[in-house]
C-alpha cells in the first residue's frame, strides 16, 4: 500500500514533535537514535504501549509510543512532578497524555502537508508477554529516543487508501476508497 509521506519527512516531523514535548513538558533532553522500519508484528513485549489513530480524507494511520515499565515511570515522574516506581493509573494517564501531545503535535505539522486530519483518543496498554499487531499492512517507521537507560520508541504508520474506479448501474464513473 502507498506511503503518504516519504520516510525522511516523517522522521523529521517525529523529531520536532518529540523534542518539543519532552523538553518543554518534562525538561528532558533526549538523544535520537537510528530510525528503522518495522515490517512485521513485534514479538512478545513488556512495558507500556500506546496507540493513537490518525485519519484524513483518503488516508489513515496510527501513532504509537512504547517503552519499558521503568522508563514509563521515569517519564511520568518528570511529567507529573512526583515520584513513581511502579506503573499505576497516574503513570498510564501521563503516558496517554504524552502520546496525545507528541502525536498531536505531529498531526498539527501533518495538517500543513496533507490537509485536515482527525485524531482519536489514546489507548494505553501495560503488561508482560503481550503482542500487538495491525490488521492492515505492518509498515511502521520507528524513531528511538534515549535519555540514560530510558529508551522511548515512537512509531508512525501512514498509508494512502487504495482507490478503485468503477462504473455504477447508471453508467457513471464512480470511485471507491478501500479502507482495508
Amino acid at each position: 500500500m502507498e506511503q503518504l509521506l516519504d520516510t525522511t519527512t516523517v522522521i523529521g516531523m517525529v523529531h520536532t514533535a518529540a523534542h518539543e514535548v519532552l523538553s518543554t513538558m518534562l525538561d528532558m533532553h533526549v538523544e535520537a537514535g537510528e530510525p528503522y522500519h518495522e515490517n512485521a508484528p513485534p514479538g512478545s513485549s513488556e512495558g507500556v504501549v500506546s496507540f493513537l489513530g490518525l485519519a484524513g480524507a483518503d488516508w489513515a494511520g496510527t501513532g504509537c509510543l512504547r517503552c519499558s515499565s521503568a522508563c514509563a515511570c521515569q517519564l511520568a515522574s518528570r511529567f507529573l512532578m512526583a515520584e513513581y516506581d511502579a506503573v499505576n493509573d497516574d503513570v498510564l494517564d501521563a503516558f496517554a497524555e504524552l502520546t496525545n501531545m507528541i502525536i498531536g503535535n505531529f498531526k498539527n505539522d501533518l495538517e500543513h502537508r496533507v490537509g485536515p486530519t482527525g485524531l482519536s483518543l489514546p489507548t494505553v496498554i501495560h503488561g508482560r508477554n503481550f503482542a500487538t499487531r495491525s490488521l492492515r499492512t505492518e509498515d511502521w517507521i520507528v524513531v528511538p529516543f534515549r535519555n540514560g537507560d530510558c529508551l522511548l520508541e515512537i512509531k508512525i504508520c501512514l498509508q494512502a487508501r487504495e482507490k478503485v474506479a468503477t462504473v455504477n448501474r447508471y453508467g457513471e464513473r464512480q470511485e471507491f476508497i478501500l479502507g482495508r
Binding site: 507529573l80 494517564d93 501521563a94 497524555e97 501531545m101 498531536g104 498539527n108
Partner: protein, 140 residues
C-alpha cells in the same frame, strides 16, 4: 467590569476551574498553580464541558482553564455556554490545547476566549497568562 479591573479593585484570591479529560494534565496544572504566586483560592476540576457547567452552577468560579478536545461537551461548546450566560459571561476562559491550527485559534478568539495556550506548555507560560489577567507578575 473586566476581570482585571474587578480584581484590582478587590484583590481577593480567585477560584479557578480546570477542565480537561486528561487526569494527567489536571494534575500538572494543579502543581503549576500551587507553585505560582498568583492569588489563587479554590481550584476545582472537571473532565468535560458538562461537568464544568455543573461545577460552575454549584461553585463561585472566577477563571476557567479549559482543553478544547473533550468528550460530551468540548471546550468551544463550553465557551459558548459561558458567554451566553448573563452571570458568567465576563469570566475569563483560557483554552489550553494541543490543537494549534491558526483557524482554531481565530475561532476561539472569535467565540470570546480570553487566551490560548498551546500544549506543550511551560509553567512560565501559565504564569504569564495569569499575570496578564491580574495585571501584575505572578509566580516565576
Amino acid at each position: 467590569m473586566t476581570f482585571e479591573a474587578n480584581w484590582k479593585s478587590n484583590p481577593m484570591p480567585f477560584d479557578l476551574l480546570i477542565v480537561d479529560d486528561s487526569a494527567a494534565i489536571r494534575k500538572i496544572l494543579q502543581r503549576v498553580l500551587q507553585k505560582a504566586e498568583a492569588p489563587i483560592g479554590n481550584v476545582y476540576e472537571a473532565g468535560d464541558g458538562v461537568e464544568a457547567l455543573a461545577v460552575m452552577r454549584a461553585k463561585n468560579v472566577n477563571l476557567v482553564l479549559s482543553d478544547i478536545n473533550m468528550p460530551n461537551m468540548d471546550g468551544l461548546q463550553l465557551l459558548t455556554q459561558i458567554r451566553a450566560n448573563e452571570e458568567w459571561k465576563t469570566i475569563p476562559v483560557i483554552l489550553i490545547t494541543t490543537e494549534g491550527s491558526q483557524a482554531k485559534v481565530m475561532e476561539a478568539a472569535h467565540m470570546g476566549a480570553t487566551g490560548y495556550v498551546r500544549k506543550p506548555f511551560t509553567p512560565e507560560q501559565i504564569n504569564h497568562v495569569l499575570a496578564g489577567l491580574v495585571g501584575s507578575p505572578v509566580g516565576a
